[in-house]
Amino acid sequence: CLQTEKILHLKSHRGRKVRVVREHYLRERVPCYSSLCQADCENDGKVLPGDLTHYVVPDVGVVVDFLEILEFRELQGVVFTQTACQAVQHCKGRRQYNRLRNLIKDPRHDCVLFANEFQEYSYCPREKGESQEKWQTRCVYSAAVWYHNHLAGMKDVVMITEDQDAVAEYSSLNAGVYVISDFLQNFWPELQPAHELYSSISQALQEKESESSQKEYTEHLPAEILEAGIKSGRYIKGTLNINKHHDEASIMTEGLSNKNNDPSWAVLVCGNKNRNRAVHGDTVVVELLPKSEWRGKVTALSEGEEKSGEDNESKPMPTGRVVGILQRNWRDYVVTFPPRDGTQSQSRNSQRILAVPWDRRIPKIRISTQQADALQDHRVVVRIDSWESTSLYPNGHSVRVLGRAGEMETEVQTILIENCIHVPPFSDAQLREMPVNSPEKPWRMDPVQVAERRDLRETHLVFSIDPRGCEDVDDTLSVRSIAGGKLLELGVHIADVTHFVAEGSLTDLEARIRSTTYYLADRRYDMLPAVLSADLCSLLGGVDRYAMSVMWELDAQTLAVNKVWYGRTVIRSSYQLHYELAQALLNGEPAEVPELARLEPEEKDAKLAELNQALETLTHVARHLRAQRDRGGALELEGVEVRAQLDEQRNITALVPRQPLEVHETVAECMIYANHWVARKIQETFPHQALLRRHPPPRQEFFNQLVESAKAMGFTIDTRTNKALADSLDRAVDPQDPLVNKMLRMMATTAMSQALYFSTGLESQDQFYHYGLALDRYTHFTSPIRRYADIVVHRLLTAAIAVERGADSGRAIASNKELEELAQHINSKNRAAQRAQKLSTVLFQCLYFKERDPQTDPQCVADAIVYSIRNNGLLVYIPEYGVKGPVYLKNREGQVVAAGEDGSCEWQSGSLRHYSDRISTTSSCGTSTFRLCDHITVRISVRSTSSHADSLNLEIISNKPHRSAEPQQPHSQGRSQLVQEVVRQAEEAQQQAQEKAARRPKLSREEREFSQSKTPNLYSLLEEVRELALMDLDTAARVCVTSASY
């Protein structure tokens, strides 16, 4: 079955030239992946359709340089050759190669890979003296000819190349095989974005050739030397991490290469020269500098131009310089084109602009463009192409224009892109997968499904408790007493999302890429289409819904677990309560339950009593569970982000702190319990491939600040275990000032490490512990509508139930490796979602204060509490707006803040002294001291920059607490008002702008709302390709089959 042929390959190896002989096996049958195939090739997976006018075979040079254009979904029938793929791997590195691989796997793209070098008749051995480029071109051409012949001449094949010699040499050799160079102009004259991208890339390529030869940086060392250096311990490998505030970078070393076991061991890299073209996030190799050149970290609050004198540096730490880069971590960057002035070097024929990235950690990027005038002050998405040692800045090309800097929509889009969040509207193909539920065609349950599931509609009183106005109800509860009151049956019923979202479907892929619903300050981007998230999956009151249930049989007295049942059910939620209503019912206050409004009084009372009974039992059980966890050392922490992560409450409320009601805790406790038991179940059934969530214990040194601050206030904090920490935090209450405890809890929160999803095959069992909740195993199960991890856990649970029944689960569950990859992806998306949420909050704060004059508007003066002391200032927290920020006590002229008799502060020349728990300024009018947890009054103004995000500037105006004239409003109102206010202003501004610019072409609704055009534009196309990295071959193949069968 195998034909062998030995071919010599010359290779240089480890620096020395060595002749290596490698075998090369050729075969007659290599699948062509075309539906026109006459020879019965084994074309499993993606197949090129037969109804195209031609197939395209891109040349090696085209694939290497213009891959981004080939990613256009409009280009159909693309045949990538193995020769080209290997060339990409060699010239462009792993990242670009993976991108190509994902493109080939992506079922939405009409392209295949042909293994031409393993095909007997399309392979051509390299001839003596033939240059590599020539040989590659010949290989690709012979592959194109083979394709034409293989399909019996039924399809014309077009080979595209940028090499004019190749056109001259090959164009007339074979009929039906065309070799051309201006493919886009000939075949796609109307595909405007592709043309723009093409000119953008080719301009960048030309620029690269005309670079001056003056060296700005030292060359990177070759990979073998780096490898040997790392092994011998001469060099250190790590990830470059650039500080947001100072111009310094550090390398976080990875465990193995580091002899020193202290995990906080890092290498400092100072200055651009030493950083040697590495960009934030790159995996780099550093060489340590001699000890005499070691420096310390800058600890002072810097305002950008501050000189880093000796006095505000910490003790010297290892310092090094980058000698090589192992893996680039370039992503899409948002940059701002500077306003045009004479200083830019635009004198030469082309227009090269130095654009300033939004992220301060990224160096300026040089972009060649002809639209420099039009793009002034616009935010643009760019990609970095290269960074030669001869160039001070990296070269890039622009991809997409977001809009004018400073506008709300532009800024929101900027935040999304900077966090690699890509949320295009759901595609038609995806929406076609969805079940229909319209008044004409209402959705009904499938009798087969109903028969398979346990029916709880008649037997159980099921109800949900959610925030007011909640649309996506994914959890419901039930409780009843059975066996004559001896046992309690507690049930948690979760929306059965996996029933609607089949694994590997387009909806599933999209949800997996998004991983979570993104909540920004003023909007949200759903993970699942609305028909699922707000309707069919949502466990609304009074309608039949599928659910995934966990039911416990508890002893009525001791509440010990007797039996647990997991399974799919059918439920009908009787009451859709909200928290306030449920609490009112519990408290025995008169409350109107909307579901009972129409009933007769007697019936109503009976039903109400039944509901009340259930709520009371539930509260009783939850109190018991909570007490159980508290004994184990569960933490109650303050802080928006962590709260959303640690408990089961909804993220939406993150901006609006909840009124703490007991019923919140009751619901949360039930959800935690369900998550815990599901985690136990899947971990026991699949010990090596269950998706759990762990919360590693924090490192003790992170608590230093907390312990010191608490000491300054007269409290002791014991951080040895989570239990000790919880207890000591409970004790640290200042009766005068409730904010003190809140502050301490907030500081404890910042010391915490992040909770993470992981695959159980990767950690030992003692690492599964969830520190915050004090549970040995935990996972996320209860919110499948808005978290992808829950969907995975649902699938695992379904498989576990099938295993228990002895039935084959049908599909193999994901292996440990796949699951770990998925867990990493979800973790990174969750972090991105959090960052985006935080940034959008800051954005709205800035937009809010931008409209106000800080000198006159009373809204701009607020009370602040000091939570940390730095060398030249304070870090304060403003509870009213939830803002944290620095307050400087010393300005650039060397003046310090001096407090007068009435507390008002002004700048005077003087000196500053810094202690661990206080900072004092001395000037002609005496000494004023600021301590931790002091309340001060600050004025809030906005510091605008054109190219970065705006930030809030806090200025101290009094060292006394701020007392506003009117009584303080509840915080929540203040903050939600803030968002509404800003949105309203933005809308008004937009309307005005539109009226003004009535002559301009009208924008579609989509464009106005999201700066996104209706048609899938270039950026979204490319982005999808990139994100398909997640998709494995298996699923890709399956999607192919399904899409082919339509």
């Binding site: 002989v21 490698r22 590195g93 990979a223």
Partner: protein, 268 residues
């Protein structure tokens, strides 16, 4: 009856540099389309070619090529004990194996002294393999010498040596329980790869060498010095056995062909 050689220490450590090398060079050992570096599919063996009876002087000899790995095996004996008499066994023959590599066998010419650690170990493995296969109890107080030389090395040296030596033993007319066939398998992307070549062996694959008596399915030797998850071992051994059975078919063919030629020559 089988010997299982287990060396748990150092295996993973020693492989580390290769692994990193492989990753850095970005060698893709198994492409998405299921091709290996040299164009084979995961279960396909390299081309095996062999000849028996290449030398007249020795009692048995064979030359075997498996892809680019080429080995020469020579068998002397059974004859009376030479050297120290103390090793004499009264109930069975002693098997003496010697493995060596030609200086020109790799890409860089390198002097390879006898008795270095690697070749001693290999000799020992060969000895254990053949002790399990040759019916030594038929020749008490005697000795069988097996010499194997690698002429060209391109991965899977052990298995090529075993296969060549089997043919040589058969050529010498020494009774064996069955052919001993050996094959290396590696584990990449959850897929077992049969018969690794050098590029694959050095590309950071956890590999396993297995010598099998194919008819009974008994394992004569199993050697593995890389880290591998226990769950995958079963699949890997299964793949190795299939590969060994493939080799045995080829060897059987070679023996039959050789017998035919010889019988024609002797005029029977």
């Amino acid at each position: 009856m089988g010997n299982v050689v287990q060396r748990r220490t150092r295996g993973a450590l020693r492989r580390c540099p290769f692994e990193v090398c492989g990753n850095m060079a970005g060698l893709e050992l198994l492409s998405d389309q299921g091709y290996r570096l040299d164009g084979r599919k995961a279960t396909e063996l390299r081309k095996v070619q062999a000849r028996m009876g290449v030398f007249a002087q020795a009692d048995g000899s064979a030359y075997l090529e498996q892809g680019n790995t080429k080995a020469l095996a020579v068998v002397y004996g059974p004859h009376e004990m030479r050297g120290s008499r103390s090793r004499t066994r009264h109930d069975q023959a002693v098997i003496n194996c010697q493995y060596s590599m030609a200086t020109f066998s790799t890409a860089e010419r390198k002097r390879r002294p006898h008795g270095d650690r690697k070749s001693t170990e290999m000799s020992l493995h060969l000895k254990q393999t053949f002790e399990a296969a040759v019916m030594t109890q038929l020749y008490p107080r005697s000795q069988i010498d097996i010499y194997v030389k690698i002429l060209q090395s391109d991965g899977g040296n052990y298995s090529v040596c075993v296969n060549a030596a089997t043919l040589a033993v058969i050529d010498a007319g020494i009774p064996m329980r069955d052919y001993v066939c050996a094959c290396t398998v590696g584990f990449v992307d959850e897929t077992p790869l049969a018969d690794l070549c050098y590029a694959e062996e050095s590309g950071g694959v956890s590999s396993l060498a297995l010598a099998l008596l194919p008819r009974g399915g008994q394992i004569a030797l199993l050697q593995m010095d890389a880290r591998l998850h226990q769950d995958h071992l079963e699949a890997l051994i299964e793949a190795a056995m299939t590969a060994c059975k493939g080799v045995s078919k080829v060897l059987d063919e070679v023996v039959r062909q050789h017998l035919q030629e010889v019988s024609v020559l002797t005029g029977e």
